[in-house]
Symmetry: C4
Subunit: 192 residues, 4 copies
């Protein structure tokens, strides 16, 4: 019951975060190329952030699937994660409307690093609360490994933005690819 409600609240917040980003796609006045052009970077950022939040939702879902009980620490680690994720629409809009200006790209990378840390904390808290849950071991190890790699890639994207923002963009893209590649073990865990 408790777990259901934690999932419901997280789903609600994630669904709203992913959807209100579309409000940043301000309706252009006019239908010619001049009117649409400023939307191209905003739209690109939307696709990126939508993918990242969808990955978080998927991972969150896999992680909680095998969790057996919830305590206050898990609730707060989860709320902490949701707080940082809730800032993604703002960072997305800022980066998009400033046409990938380097400080805005670095800020986006900082936020994604913080979100990765928050997710990693949630992972550790859940692992610590379920020391004997063998079903959790596999997804935890997979997500931990991928999580640390993502964190390092996002962290590298911060200074990279000051060399060339395209490097940061490639790193963001790389993280998405790492998570989107199908993962046989998670599949297997789900089937059990």
């Amino acid at each position: 019951m408790t777990k259901t409600r934690l999932e419901a609240f997280s789903d609600g917040v994630l669904a709203i975060i992913i959807t209100i980003m579309v409000l940043e796609l301000k309706t252009p006045r006019g239908t010619n190329w001049e009117a649409i052009r400023p939307l191209v970077p905003v739209f690109t950022c939307y696709v990126l952030s939508f993918t990242i939040i969808a990955i978080y939702w998927g991972n969150h879902h896999h992680l909680l699937h095998t969790v057996s009980h919830i305590n206050s620490k898990i609730i707060w680690a989860n709320t902490h994660l949701l707080f940082w994720l809730s800032l993604i629409p703002f960072a997305t809009a800022w980066m998009g409307e400033n046409h990938f200006e380097r400080i805005s790209v670095a800020a986006y990378a900082v936020l994604q690093t913080t979100c990765s840390i928050a997710y990693y904390i949630l992972l550790r808290v859940i692992a610590g609360s379920h020391p004997h849950n063998t079903h959790l071991r596999e997804p935890l190890e997979k997500q931990s490994k991928k999580g640390v790699i993502s964190l390092l890639l996002y962290l590298s994207a911060v200074p990279a933005a000051f060399i060339h923002t395209a490097i940061s963009a490639s790193l963001f893209f790389l993280v998405a690819v790492i998570w989107l590649i199908p993962d046989r073990n998670i599949e297997k865990a789900l089937k059990e």
Copy 2:
């Protein structure tokens, strides 16, 4: 459990998409006809998009009703669909605020075609994951047939917008009618 959460997330996103569209109905200053008139096309688009998203919700609901298990492919096909659906409020506002200007109508038709394709992919992925589920066969066949017809109608609405936008509008209307006509077989499937 897994299926419940996929439905909850989808319901959340669809509920938000369908409701934030109303934010595009900007409160007019004043209450005379001059103030209200610009809202007429925006409102017409709202009714159209509300109906289309409600139909997606209904179909999604019928489709997942008989699904027995969820895998990563289904999760991603579903997220892919939600991505395109999330753009409907933007396309709706653009078409409404530009008073059915032909490029905006064509863009709306392109988006609806893409949504149809995304729904069709979800349908195929679910069918592929449940080869022996006989309860799924009937809704799948019905939705596939109607889905392909819708897709073709939406696709025709793209060039039609450049001849006369009223043709595209009629095609949008036609698709809605096709889905709103009660379907005895889906009813029957639900009763089982």
Copy 3:
């Protein structure tokens, strides 16, 4: 299962409708009385609409509580109701920002009349689909009676707005009171 999802989608839409209305309370620049004064009518409208939507949520909840199965007709009657309810934030903002100008009050009354009709249709469709459900009889009769009275009061508020908007406002207030008065029978039905 099916019923759960209909409730979840309705809850989502109602939760969003009730909450996005607060976005119409535009943050005033400054903290003196001059800055706050224009918010008074907007806030009054917010309280009114919040109460009305909360009543719809409560009634919807009581009604579906004893429903045993869902069919396409119920789904569409429910969607039809949600459509009209989704326009309440717009009508609320229009009435508030125009300081209860008579046309905006009449429009609000028209919308509430339409919502009442939509709710009554849902009531009839559910009653028609459950001819032998004795648990439904009592809430149905109660809600039907109150529903018809509300509808007539809202309808009277349309012409009343052109005599004096205070009459319409009193009628809106009266409808809220009718529904907020505790109803022993619904309580009893819930306990069973």
Copy 4:
């Protein structure tokens, strides 16, 4: 069933309230310090209100966890609480955009006092409806005690804002700390 839906609706409203606040973080034009500086107070208020609403969600969740049945009184006490909570995004934005001007801080304190009262009413109504539920006793006593302390702290923050707004800010901070300190008894109650 009934309880599930009350939780779902409350979760929906709370998730939306907590998330739409981010819309007040208006995307700055430009990426230099001048452009970002006005966001600092708005962001501080966002962190504060996010924490407060997350605490309400956590407490609401603990409280309803051991509730066995729902009646009309509980539904209305809950709706009454949601109404006041729904005004938090507005009060947050007002305080942030006016850079903690004393009247806006006092207004924020008044709203938080009212929310505390509304929560206390819900607590009493639930306690009154479950006179023999021993599982409820412990969370009720804990939340009542902390609730009254919070209420008094918020109430003191109202006049304090006119002496120095930093005193009010410290009181808001103190309330958050009181609730965030882990509470062994609630943990214990959850485990049962």
